[in-house]
């Protein structure tokens, strides 16, 4: 009997664990280690953050689902990986620290035959002074929608802002990224447009100034170097697409910005041209930079090998080409295909946890040497597809031995559908519905745009909102392993 240990139960980890268990059956063990008792459909946190959904709408308890599936659930966080075992034993293991199940604070060693790191991002608020609380959490100057609890708090604060605006007090709202090296601009994009939509609905938009600030070199970069897509029969840049939407909604932008300090009601920033500025706000939602989960790794002798397994940001090295090279030499082939750790073949990483070979957007620095560019997004669909491919590979390795074939899911050969909400409402809602192929541009194959414009398309309208709403229910259905869950694509 083999044991697969999956660290993290987000989009990637939950997909890996549930498919692996389904394919392996009861002959093998699947253990999931994750610090939260609840599963969260993160994309819908946007609607929680504007009061359009409750926390209960976007989370559910993991324990009963894993019990039904026969998965061993440990509510704990992984602290360290020991891929060579320890003195007296060659069996690899992870050290975990419990956060629930009445074992809070207790540590345990869990041995594994195969390990999947799907620990997603650590929200690194403290990277920007004043964005964090100095203890790893969010500070009191801004709000976030990255977790369901953050989003609940954001919605309460937003409500107060709208109430003040109703009373005639002019309010300033700032939304975007809180550091020069952030990713996840898409979530901030959704949030700012949902705020606009709710402000219109509440009749306070004329009393609320809404402004965007981000580290993108141009609006619509989204950490993917932007994209050219078919819109109404034209091939247009996402820059025009995004700028047009912001223009229509009267949302000015500050772009190429590294937010370097937050004070109560004020964000300080440096721009790509080296100039500095500050922006006042009554309410700000700034996405923090992402880091890896911060696990350590040790060899058999107990020597620290963290830098062998993880990059400096804490993301796990897999089978990508990590040799440093200039932007002009970046290739689609640099991107990992199997997500197998380059040193330990029984370790894989899925979703945000794997180390990208480089960023996707063009790298940029201010004259002061400050890097200001988005880091690569790994959105829900790629995270799920990678999680499933990794499950497939491990199941084959377990069933067929080490000569089994590994499954590939390169982001440079993968398409994704993405729906960005621009306002919630059965008849009044809107969303930008996009498909993109491939996620990572391949300029050798598609000179000019890097992507296949037959498959890269975008449109904004009510249909997008309906799709986003249907996907909310479909993905929660799938995550709860309800009948037919395997038929719902990642």
């Amino acid at each position: 009997m083999a044991r697969l240990v999956v660290l993290g139960a987000g989009v990637a980890g939950h997909t890996t664990a549930t498919f692996a268990k389904k394919w392996l059956g009861n002959g093998h063990e699947v253990v999931v280690v994750t610090p939260n008792s609840l599963w969260n459909w993160i994309p819908s946190n946007i609607w929680v953050g504007v009061g359009g959904m409750s926390k209960e709408d976007v989370v559910f308890p993991l324990a009963p689902v894993y019990q039904k599936a026969g998965i061993d659930f440990r509510q704990a966080k992984a602290v360290s990986i020991h891929p060579e075992g320890k003195d007296g034993s060659d069996t690899p293991y992870v050290t975990v620290e419990y956060t629930g199940q009445n074992k809070e604070g207790q540590t345990e060693e869990i041995t594994y035959d195969y390990l999947v790191n799907a620990t997603g991002p650590k929200l690194n608020f403290d990277a920007t002074p004043g964005l964090g609380n100095g203890e790893g959490g969010i500070g009191s100057n801004t709000v976030s929608v990255c977790t369901a609890d953050h989003a609940v708090h954001a919605s309460q604060e937003l409500k107060q802002v709208f109430e003040k605006a109703k009373r005639g007090e002019r309010q300033k709202i700032l939304v975007g990224t809180g550091h020069g090296m952030c990713t996840c601009q898409g979530a901030a994009f959704e949030y700012i447009h949902n705020i606009h939509h709710e402000a219109e609905k509440a009749g306070v938009r004329d009393n609320v100034d809404i402004k965007w600030i981000s580290n993108e070199a141009f609006l619509g970069d989204f950490g993917m170097g932007g994209m050219h897509m078919k819109v109404n029969g034209y091939v247009v840049s996402s820059r025009i697409f995004a700028e047009s939407l912001y223009t229509e909604r009267n949302i000015p932008w500050i772009i190429g910005a590294h937010v370097n300090k937050i004070e109560e009601g004020k964000a300080h920033y440096e721009l790509l041209d080296g100039s500095t500025g500050e922006e006042e706000f009554d309410f700000a939602m700034l996405i923090p930079p992402f880091a890896g989960a911060g696990m350590k790794a040790y060899d058999k002798a107990g020597e620290d090998i963290t830098s062998k397994i993880f990059n400096p940001g804490g993301f796990m090295f897999v089978d990508g080409d990590y040799a440093p090279k200039p932007y002009d030499e970046w290739k689609a082939a640099d991107w990992p295909r199997t997500y197998q750790n380059r040193d330990y073949k029984n370790i894989f990483a899925a979703g945000i946890a794997f180390a990208p070979p480089h960023i996707i957007s063009k790298p940029a620095k201010s004259p002061n040497g400050t890097p200001i560019n988005p880091t690569p997004p790994r959105t829900g669909m790629p995270s799920g597809i990678i999680g499933k491919a990794v499950a497939h590979s491990i199941v084959d390795l377990i069933k067929n031995g080490s000569s089994a074939h590994l499954h590939e899911a390169s982001m440079a050969e993968m398409g994704a559908a993405c729906v960005a909400s621009a306002g919630k409402g059965l008849t009044g809602g809107q969303a930008a519905a996009m498909t993109i192929y491939p996620v990572v541009p391949d300029f050798d194959k598609y000179p000019g745009t890097g992507r296949d414009t037959e498959y890269t398309f975008g449109e904004i309208g009510l249909a997008g909102h309906w799709i986003k709403h249907i996907l909310h229910h479909l993905f929660i259905w799938k995550a709860k392993l309800k009948p037919g869950w395997t038929l719902i694509p990642e």
């Binding site: 047009s244 932008w253 199997t338 597809i385 491919a389 499954h407 498909t435």
Partner: protein, 61 residues
């Protein structure tokens, strides 16, 4: 004139394009949006099919 045209007064917005009355109506026209939903679903299925086609297996190392 639609009220959003006033936004062009801000020089930052100068080079963008905004939908006119017809396009805005279509964005919320239930029948048209149902058609677009089917269209987008078909496109997404296309992407899923491409992903499946690209799914490969490699000998493990």
């Amino acid at each position: 004139m639609i009220k959003e045209e006033r936004n062009f007064a801000d020089p930052q917005f100068e080079t963008a394009m905004i939908p006119g009355r017809f396009q805005r109506t279509m964005r919320h026209c239930i029948v048209w949006q149902l058609i677009r939903m089917v269209f987008f679903s078909v496109r997404s299925i296309g992407i899923i099919m491409v992903n499946l086609k690209n799914e490969k297996e490699l000998p493990s190392t």
